[in-house]
Symmetry: C2
Subunit: 248 residues, 2 copies
DNA sequence: ACTCAGCGCTTACGGTATATACAGTTGCGG
DNA sequence: CCGCAACTGTATATACCGTAAGCGCTGAGT
């Protein structure tokens, strides 16, 4: 606990202090000089945890399994990471590379924001556990997270919107990508088909209770693939933002 | 396991069958005749779990605590609920009452959809753990969930959009409410202030790395309360949908 | 050469979900 | 009315989980 730098009052034993977690995320760790060489680093641990999560899902990322990957005991990890929550933060940060160069996507705010959304979408697709990981509290935000945020806000600057509005638009886009990734992560291919089968059976049984839903399923609204969910949602939102811009 | 109805092949011991979970959600449980009267029901258990989650958060809902509330042992719950995942499903279903009467909100698709979103928002505010609960997989959807879905789809019918488009719009709105609730749940009042303090300190240190973000914070974009996040996002999305309707 | 910070390990505790076996209770069929 | 079968709740046990505490070894700075 708080073995960093100075003695520290150490008033409340529990309650990890944010500064420690932040220092971790920002890589501001001064490496020791005295003892034996550390065999691990927080970054390497996070990396291993990421490959584990990619392969088997976040729920099977445990201190034990991660440590076993290095051939060390679980407790060894605590020399590098204060706890599991911080490890997950590091995983998130590890998976977020530098944000892409949006200026390559075009000159207007709209193509840039769209590119931003697609890139973020790609990250969620590559690492589905990111959703669960960022759903857990803390949200300290490492440099990579801030960089993504900065990129989106920068793309919005030429719109002429107020900074408050730009912030809201950012939240809107980020949330849209996130929630859509979530919805699609739940419904993988054949599970979707199975769900449709069971649901339609239920709907038949409770025939007139859900008229609109029954009709939608009969129309194939749930199985149609002609509309890309991300692009559809994005187009609607950006159209709406355009309306706001035009009104100003 | 699978003590229901018929002997059942029982091929794979693990892997709860969906039908059982669905029967639970839809209340299609035939009550037994032979043994002692059951002191509990799945619904009452879910109800107790809900009040526990409301009070102390979802992470402190454990079989033990819920059972203790009834003065029974943890294992007793397994007579009524196959496992914890199913219990959470029941909690979700319990918290979703019948959807509101949207026709009271006005005659157009827009006020009705807006009313739908605000009601959903209210549910998230009343039961913040819903976010975490629905983030966990399974998504079997009980009658209440389907009813909400039906209400939103019904509101969209007079738009003249295709059923596929209506479905996408529904996903868009639902996702928006959800992700916004999430974002606001993370940032409670003073935690937000603390975050701003630490982040601005970091930004000072890495002065020129995040120019747009730095400016946004300086402008107070993150602390301003003049824009209601839900209404702002909703207005943008609905404007975008209006554009789509007008184009058709 | 000595010291001691830092590393990795072992052990232990309290928590979780849940499988299994058992004892008590109830109602139906004979 | 009796006994069996179904059903209840409980006790016990397993296999995890995160992590607190303390021990012995390593190896660089003095």
């Amino acid at each position: 606990m708080a073995r960093a730098a100075k003695p520290r009052e150490n008033k409340d034993k529990k309650a990890r202090d944010l500064p420690t977690g932040i220092a971790l995320l920002w890589g501001e760790q001064d490496q020791p000089a005295r003892g034996p060489k550390p065999r691990l680093t927080p970054q390497r641990i996070a990396e291993a945890a990421v490959t584990l999560a990619d392969a088997e899902g976040l729920e099977s990322v445990s201190m034990n399994k991660v440590a076993a990957g290095f051939g060390v005991s679980a407790m060894a990890l605590y020399r590098y990471v204060p706890g599991k929550a911080e490890l997950v933060e590091l995983m998130v940060e590890a998976v977020l590379a530098e944000p892409p160069d949006l200026s390559a996507a075009g000159s207007g705010w709209r193509p840039r924001l769209s590119a931003w959304a697609h890139c973020q979408w790609g990250v969620y697709q590559a690492h589905p556990w990111l959703l669960a990981a960022t759903a857990m509290r803390r949200q300290i935000m490492g440099p990579h997270q801030l960089a993504w945020m900065d990129a989106a806000l920068a793309a919005l600057e030429p719109t002429g919107l107020t900074s408050g509005q730009r912030h809201q638009v950012f939240l809107l886009i980020a949330g849209q990508v996130r929630s859509l990734a979530q919805q699609l992560a739940d419904f993988d291919e054949d599970h979707n088909r199975e769900w449709g089968r069971l649901t339609s059976e239920l709907l038949n049984r409770h025939s007139n209770r859900f008229p609109a839903l029954t009709k939608a399923i009969a129309d194939g609204a749930f199985t149609s693939t002609e509309l890309d969910p991300l692009d559809f949602g994005l187009d609607r939102i950006l159209d709406g933002v355009q309306v706001l811009i035009d009104r100003a």
